[in-house]
Assembly symmetry: C2
Homo-oligomer: 307 residues x 2
């Protein structure tokens, strides 16, 4: 387990779920407890306010309040990599500034994602504008490549230009597109650039290739399993350990992912509220939920009582 | 020209450009002047804060301030159909509430556009949540079908369900996908539902098919030409009038559209600031701009001194 005072730069990070109340507002207490539990499970860091977190379904004010709650709740800033990229530059700046203020290890920054296609020069201008408005050497940006949601891929040409102009700020990427060749390519082309996989499938392969680790939804419920891989990825039983993680991932991804993970948390904590998502995400049916749990049991998965 | 006190329900609407200052903030004065000029040109209404307006590149606070500026600047609420749909329900609610407060004729509401694919039930839940939080009979929603940007199409099934549950609220749609058969289908399937085309190509066809009119980017510079078509769409020279609009559209859409329209406005007003866009949108090169103006001249287009 990492030292909690050193900004997390590699390892196993959870793309942290956001529990919500009956009025659809964030459940700050439950969320802070979940963050702490994830760290206890062995996660090296917490990618809060990302895709799995339903971050784009929350207003900027709600997201700022969640970051404040993390700080006030005693979550070490050095473990946090909040998502801060919005369509509008002022929103991205507000969230990024807050992340820097609470001592976050970095931010995970979507490109502006309404207009498409946009040029690399246009995306560079957008990132550059944010970096200059923040104007703080503590800022560390992880780019977020998730074209299936954003519609805006992060190209090698864009990375090259950002790295050239902002080498101390643009330090890594989360690649959620699922193409391992792209991750290997970035590791090879950009020495020192920290490449995280958004899929647990590649946890072991990316570590072997010199990558940084994973930032995944599945780590909400299998952080302990992933941590075991990371602690021992050069060891003889690394593949066997990794298989446990992959089994869980392949099971939950056969269901609506966020709903499935929230279902598992609801059962583990005994708190039904965990099942809520913000529209437009759909709840799972009771039939689906039962099948999910049966299939997870089938791969030997059981979640220790959480929080 | 429509009575400016009756909420606009059909005709020719401009998808209003947003001029910005050197610090990238909205130029409220120039924007209000542009809105007034568009009404003087014969536009029946103003679809402010949409795609052409770069609305998603502005924060919610900036968008609220623009609506206030319209009201304070004397733009009749009955002419306004502001875009209010965001990824996050609280943002959509804040913008929609403001639109209702300033007496807007309606709102043009994108579906939440980060998650994809999402189900019709999930989208229904999102729209429903907004409608119920607003809880105001004055609210009139135009759905916004622009899958090339949103990634989230508006299906017939979703329209049917929304119309069934909220018949007095969900009153129409802007279809920017460019498939005329889809527009015809909605006109046929949903009597009384106001179908606007997002393309000038279909101004005359949609009026002949019983549709409501157009809401287009091109109407920023060709509102007078479109107004002539709308005033006389049953007349003998309607096709000839429509050809003038289509010629302008086909010319400007060979260039980056928002940049091209801002270039025309910069030249018409003599104010260079009009050329600015927010990142990630790219500026046009001087060479492109010269070619645009030459091609517009080639189709007989010239813009009267604006504002």
């Amino acid at each position: 387990m990492a030292d909690r005072r050193t900004p997390v730069e590699r390892g196993v990070l959870a793309a942290v779920l956001t529990p919500i109340k009956v009025d659809l507002s964030p459940d700050f207490t439950e969320w802070v407890a979940h963050c702490k539990w994830l760290l206890d499970q062995g996660c090296d860091g917490l990618a809060v306010l990302g895709t799995t977190s339903e971050a784009n379904s929350f207003s900027v004010d709600e997201r700022l309040a969640l970051m404040d709650a993390a700080a006030e709740g005693g979550i070490p800033g050095a473990t946090l990599i909040p998502g801060t990229g919005c369509c509008a530059i002022p929103d991205t700046v507000a969230l990024t500034r807050k992340a820097v203020e609470i001592g976050a290890a970095g931010v995970l920054m979507l490109p502006p994602f309404y207009y498409k296609p946009v040029s690399d020069d246009g995306l560079f201008a957008a990132y550059s504008e944010v970096i200059q408005r923040i104007g703080d050497g503590r800022l560390k940006i992880y780019l977020y490549h998730i074209p299936q949601n954003s519609g805006v891929p992060i190209t090698f040409r864009l990375i090259e230009k950002l790295r050239r102009v902002y080498p101390d700020t643009v330090v890594g990427i989360k690649d959620s597109a699922g193409d391992f060749a792209n991750m290997e390519g970035m590791i090879r082309e950009f020495p020192g650039f920290r490449v995280f996989s958004g899929s647990d499938e590649f946890l072991l392969p990316i570590l072997r290739a010199g990558g940084a680790g994973t930032i995944t939804a599945c780590n909400n419920i299998a952080g302990d399993l992933s941590a075991r891989v990371f602690a021992n990825w050069g060891g003889a039983d690394a593949d066997a350990c990794h298989k446990n993680v992959v089994d869980v991932r392949r099971t939950v991804t056969r269901f609506p992912l966020i709903a499935a993970l929230k279902e598992v948390m609801a059962r583990a904590t005994g708190r039904d509220g965990w099942r809520r998502q913000r529209p437009p995400l759909d709840p799972m049916s009771a039939e689906q939920a039962a099948r999910l749990m049966a299939e997870l049991e089938g791969v030997g998965f059981s979640l220790k009582q959480a929080a």
